[in-house]
Amino acid sequence: MKKKTASICALALSAMTAASAAWAVESNDPIKLTLHDWSGQLINTKIMGSILQEAGYSIEYVQADYIAQFAGLKTGDLHLAMEIWETTGREALDDATATGKVVNVGETGLMAIEEWWYPSYMKERCPGLPDWQALKECSEEFATAETAPMGRYVGGPVTWGGFDEERVEALELDFEVVHAGTDAALFAELESAYQRQDPVVLWVYVPHWAPAKYDGEFVEFPPYSAECYSDASVGVNPDLAYDCGKPRGPIWKAAWAGLQEKWPGAYGIIDAYRISNEEMSAMVGKADLDGVDIDTVVADWMSANKDRWSAWIAK
């Protein structure tokens, strides 16, 4: 029972804070952390929350939409967002920090990778993979009734950007880009094709549970560079930009600008917080594939990494 463990935790915590009055906190108002609807973010946020609790701060979790949360961060209704992806949230984050009401607290240590991805069984039907040149040869393998003779590539929601239409044109791939409207729809396509062992190539990102559940790999495009996107002459195709893979980038922490003033100690802990892709993938796998409760996953991490987070608090 979540509620029960929470109340036990609160009890234990109050006992502990009473014992260690040395950790005086600046304000007893709760720091509000946002929760979204994917497990990695829940785990990440709840670890951060647990550490702040250990340091004596009062915290509160609030469910919020990934982009809509910036409205709350600006006004101070919300205080901390733990996962702003360079790849999908950068624009909103920059907008928000430009107002001066939101600050970027730096990297979480997680690196986002987004690229075209295919299940391993496709290697038999298209032997040249993972090199992108192979896609040129066997685009028909990926065709469906609607797109034939072109191959079908399932891209992310339009809002994720990604320049896939431009990439297809620049690299002269015979593919049609179909946009899934949501994350859930995107992976429903993968699940469906994987069950039938049907051809599929789609947008996958890590950290995510999908690469752990399904056997497969990313397509290797020419590596990304800023010039490749901005300058047509750079890259494989001398006449067009976007003739390379997608950028990879950190996942940022974003906070309400007043947080540093109100809870300077907490700000220091948030600033110090780092976690790695491997750790996160393992935890997401546990939660989404093995069905372990997220609170249990978080508690396990907390007890296994006591030295690490104690050092962050001590800073």
Partner: protein, 664 residues
Amino acid sequence: MTRSLSSRQLTVLALVLLTIALGYFGRDLAKAMDARWLVKFPSAWVIPFKTWISAAMGWLIEDAAIGAVSFTGVTRAVAWLIEQPYDLMLALLATGFVSGQGSAAQVLLPAASWIAVTAAVIALGHYCRDWGLAALVGACFAYLAVFGQWDSAMVTLASVLIAVPIGAGGGLLLGVLAYRHPLFERLVSPILDLMQTIPIFAYLVPILFMFGFGPVSALVATIIYATPPMVRITIMALKAVDPEILDFGRMAGTTRRQLMWRVLVPSASHSLMVGVNQVIMLTLNMVIIASMIGAGGLGFDVLAALRRLDIGAGFEAGIAIVVLAIAVDRLSQAFAERMGQVRRQAPRSWAARHKRTVLIAALLAVTWLLGRFSPLLLDYPESQTITTGAFWSDTVQYLNVNYFDYFEAVKVFFLSWFMLPIKKVLLGIPWPWAIAMLTLLGWHAGGWRLALLCGVMSALIAVSGLWAKAMVTVYLCGASVILATLIGVPLGVLAALNSRAGAAINLLIDTLQTLPSFVYLIPVVMLFRVGDFTALIAIVLYALAPAVRYAAHGVRSVSNELIEAGLVSGCTRTQLLRHIRLPMALPEILLGINQTIMLALSMLVITALVGTRDLGQEVYIALTKADTGRGLAAGLAIAFIAIIADRLVNAGARGARARFGLES
């Protein structure tokens, strides 16, 4: 029926055929004439409404003030007012009463035990009607506990218990005001139109700015969405009260206030309850979207489960929403019925008169007291929950692996013979021609006022630069409405003629309306892939309900005398249906189609989640980019389409009624 066409009908037919031909060859024609601006609205002519709206919103939120009180100060105060009862309800049902904030809070008193809550709804069911109702709502709440949905369901229930009284009460007051002052009615009517037709996603962002982050914003959005039907039904119901009753009230010497609350409202209570039912259904419809901006509860469970592709868990949480809707709806209906009856009270002690209340209070106290020693009394034990999750996932996998080719064939057939031709025609019609035709249609159906409305609104869509997306919207909705009508009307007729089939169909329709569409959207994606056809299925499933309901109602309410007259003159059953029942029910069926169009349009934002390319997607993109102006501009375009369709169909229905002599 051999009847020569009048010249007027001939002109209409010719124009329709010409429009279709023009649409089909529009693109090639425009290319040949080197006049691409005919099919694609030139971007240089676009008026930047979205920038203006964004700027206005920015001013409202940041600078607007009346004296020293800023606009956001007012909205925040409203938020605070709503928050108080909500917090109380949430504490009682879900979180428990605590002192302090956040994780430092101490639990003073845990939330009401599942035993006490279930007993309370059973008692309420018995009080309102009988043991049958008690058993039904008891079973509903037992489902929530046994399937492990209790905690989330109580969070959702708390928000429903706040949103429904505000929506229904506020709607009633507005309706009364509109009934008393015709000017106010004329003022409020277009606002109601917009509230009902602008997709919620379009105004979520400004609401977040105004009311702050969290459950209150979700409540406000829910109330905005759920109130309009209550206002409309109140106005209608009050107007429909028998004038004799009104005269009777006046003769008895009532004051204006007494006349309203003692005479008019009670006489209209039956119709008013239909409004309350709508408020409840719409509130529960909003659960998923509300959870996106911090309402939590069952909606969040559905979203999170589907992100893990845990179809079973999503389905169970979705069914929990349906179950909650059924319990709240049946209870409120029975409660209203009971309030209508006058009972003489026996002169007994308070406790003797309120046995159930006493019993529940005692039970609550006992579970709280003993709950300290046995948590079983407070929380349903997790080890005793059951789940059917694997069954649903396995079913979808079985269908997917074994029957995918058949699904694919069906999809390709529909796409190439039904959907794509419609799309091609609609996108090919030159926009000046389309605006002209709509204006003409408006004039034909309802005179110059309607013509003006159709012309101006469609022109506004064009100049806001959304014409192509609007046409994709019309295509998707149009195709869905045609299918929903073809399926729904026969089902409705069947439900009216055969009571056993009627009961089954009713249950199906209730479920389809309250089950969050997101629950079946993901399995449909797995079987039919991302694309327009998947969106079509989702829209048809959701928009089917009014087509069935109104058709059934229309066929049922054909007067018995007419049926008897038909029987006497020797009609067979088929003839009875074809020549008497269906024509007489036609106005109702048309109204049903009107509602189907409205629901189809409101579904567009949901289908944006599976990757359509229409106005719904535009609204969704605006939401994820927090672009107020873009969202509201696209939302208004959807509203305009809805209003044009509504007025045209209504004018058509009026015409049909007049033809059958039902209305002069």
